[in-house]
């Protein structure tokens, strides 16, 4: 156990060194991709907690992200930029004078998203399966419609521009590491075991004395908390947000990450967040003209992407990791070609 702690510490140190040098030497395009990788890790983990570990098929993630992104943006926008943004209708009173630092804004974004999730979850989490999916999808659409129509709070369909680009590698990778740490601790706690029990069999879990309502709402709210933070990071990376960003496609992207990584695996989510974000950039050449004299087909990249991911769902259903996790024992066992574990629980 102590050996593993040392390894984890070393890995974190290596990551620290990597971020330090990446921040100094990489160009802005690569930095943006790395930032997106880390942010999608946070978002993927938050959705995997709800969908993969608790087995609640929720499609409301884009809504929680919207809450987070708008909260962070509204709190961090400088007053002058706010006045420039809200030229159609002035911003309502307390918000137009508040400017917060990034960290408290992010935390408040997470808390607000969690509160929204609690309000939604308390009535809706009684539903199961497809009904839950469509109800959460509905709520995320309602959030988006409300944001489109509240001109004096969110600037409506115009969106917000000129959000300070606070998100850098320190923020995104820092948040990702903290999220991973919290998720792993949560999943290995008694709460995590209760979540998994609910995923495997609700009725059995309930008869073992697990409160379904409490644990479902808890998982939903924690997932939404991190979705809100991820949304906030994303907004302050992009610099502009508008309600159209948080359509169903956003949820779909994150769903793809957790499906490819394996529903119910933290390791898988991290790997596939990186794979998918980088692949999306890598496949960008498909949108350019490939063969001379044949005009480019914009959108081809997304077609290839959706075909690839259909293939994953159809033929490769457990994803990269299934429900397996990374551990140092397995890692070294793999290189030593020995039996994987020494037997018995740790």
């Amino acid at each position: 156990m102590k050996r593993n702690t040392i390894y984890t510490g070393t890995a974190l140190l290596l990551l620290f060194v990597f971020v330090y040098f990446a921040n100094k030497h990489l160009d802005s395009y690569l930095l943006r991709i790395l930032n997106l990788c880390a942010i999608y890790t946070v978002l993927g983990l938050s959705m995997n907690l709800i969908n993969g570990f608790t087995g609640l098929f929720s499609l409301g993630h884009a809504g929680f992200m919207a809450v987070g992104a708008y909260t962070t943006a509204m709190l961090t926008l400088p007053i002058a930029t706010k006045q420039m943004n809200f030229f159609l209708a002035p911003l309502i009173s307390p918000l137009d004078k508040i400017v917060w630092p990034f960290l408290p804004s992010l935390l408040l974004a997470g808390v607000l998203a969690a509160i929204v999730a609690f309000l939604i979850g308390a009535p809706v989490l009684r539903l199961k399966g497809d009904y839950l999916a469509i109800a959460t999808l509905g709520f995320s659409e309602i959030i988006r419609v409300v944001f489109t129509n509240t001109q004096t709070v969110t600037n409506g369909a115009l969106g917000l521009k000129g959000i300070p680009a606070t998100t850098n590698l320190w923020w995104s990778f820092g948040t990702a590491v903290v999220t991973i740490f919290i998720m792993v601790s949560l999943i290995n706690s008694s709460y995590g075991r209760a979540f998994k029990a609910i995923r495997e069999d609700e009725i059995a879990a309930e008869s073992m004395g697990i409160s379904l309502f409490k644990h479902k709402v808890l998982s939903f709210a924690i997932g939404a908390f991190f979705a809100g933070i991820g949304g906030g990071l994303l907004g302050n990376l992009m610099g502009t947000i508008d309600p159209l960003m948080f359509r169903f496609f956003m949820t779909y992207n994150i769903l793809l990450i957790i499906v490819l990584g394996g529903l119910g695996s933290v390791t898988g989510t991290i790997i596939s967040a990186f794979i998918i974000t980088i692949a999306q950039e890598f496949l960008r050449f498909l949108d350019e003209p490939i063969i001379p004299n044949i005009p480019a087909l914009p959108g081809l990249r997304m077609v290839v992407f959706s075909i690839l991911l259909m293939l994953v769902v159809l033929f490769f259903r457990t994803g990269l990791m299934g429900t397996r996790e990374f551990s140092w024992d397995k890692f070294f066992g793999f290189f030593k070609k020995r039996p994987l574990s020494k037997g018995g629980a740790k």
Binding site: L127, A133, G138, E141, V303, S306
Partner: protein
């Protein structure tokens, strides 16, 4: 002339800040009924597939979109007369529906529900992206067919002929569908498969063919709905199927998923409700799309099986 005077004298009522004459109200109602009929046609596809496979066919809205584009290209690019083009489009859409089933749903029919649902979402995403690449992301204008799109005058109101034709077509198709489901052998097979998959198989029902047939019928109805949609709302886009798709699923849930009558009732409730909401409370018109979701959540909370649904008890 006379009827116009009577109409304006008859009644003026005040509701939610809008003065409304009876004529205006009737016009909104007619629009609501025709929108409701379109929703009903698409909702039937959802409800039939759900009844038989317990699957939300997320791609249904995109199949509907494809039908509109097929009809568009038939008329505009290939210069076919509208009736030929519409029939070809409807047939192609039926084939498309069966292809989606065979490629995206059949291979993982035995998989956990979540995998099938993800596959459905994937199929929908693929169709949308294909449409963007093949048809282009810019809006196109659906050809106007005078027989459908001419205006008629009744009293003081001018209204498209289409507004009356849509409900008529819907009712006609419903009668055919009811006959198909209740009186024919394939209909019997469909009902058997939706009651009990395994037993139907043992009794010699060709399950694969029945499911394929169900997808085909659902897609045909969506195609008819799509073409009429294109005539009514001529601006067509690759993503035009998303919202109607979700709304029609909601209509199917409101009516009680698995029941064709329920889907029709749900479609009418949504269509009429939406139009009247915008008519009476114009300040809420921005929330038009949220209306159906709020209705969905209310229904799910208070009567989860919908208006016509049967109570299902959970088996341990």
């Amino acid at each position: 002339m006379i009827s116009g005077t009577i109409g304006s004298l008859l009644m003026k009522f005040y509701l939610g800040g809008v003065y409304m004459t009876l004529e205006l109200f009737l016009q909104h109602l007619a629009n609501g009924i025709s929108l409701g009929s379109l929703y009903a046609l698409i909702a039937i596809g959802y409800t039939m597939v759900y009844g038989i496979l317990r699957l939300i066919n997320f791609a249904h809205g995109d199949i509907f979109m494809m039908a509109v584009y097929f009809a568009f290209f038939g008329v505009v690019t290939f210069g076919m007369p509208w009736y030929v083009s519409f029939i070809v489009a409807i047939a192609l859409t039926g084939i498309l529906g069966m292809t989606v089933e065979a490629l995206a749903y059949r291979p993982i029919r035995e998989a956990p529900r979540i995998s099938i649902l993800i596959s459905a979402i994937g199929a929908s995403y693929l169709l949308e992206n294909l449409a963007i690449v093949i048809f282009g992301g810019r809006p196109k204008t659906f050809p106007q067919v005078p027989i459908f799109t001419d205006m008629v005058q009744i009293g003081n109101i001018h209204i498209q002929k289409l507004t009356f034709m849509i409900p008529a077509v819907t009712i006609a198709l419903l009668i055919v569908l009811m006959y198909l489901i209740n009186k024919t052998k394939s209909g019997m097979a469909m009902r058997a498969v939706s009651k009990d998959f395994e037993t139907a198989k043992i009794m010699g029902v060709n399950v694969n063919r029945t499911i394929s047939f169900t997808f085909g019928v659902g897609s045909l109805l969506a195609a008819v709905g799509g073409i009429m949609w294109g005539l009514k709302f001529p601006s067509i886009l690759p993503l035009m199927g998303v919202m109607p798709g979700i709304k029609c699923f909601i209509a199917a849930v409101i009516g009680g998923i698995g029941s064709v009558t329920g889907a029709v009732i749900g479609g009418f409730i949504l269509g009429i409700g939406e139009i009247l909401l915008v008519a009476f409370l114009p300040e809420l018109s921005g929330y038009r799309d949220a209306f159906s979701f709020i209705l969905l959540i209310l229904i799910l909370l208070f009567r989860p099986t919908g208006i016509m649904g049967e109570k299902i008890s959970e088996k341990v």
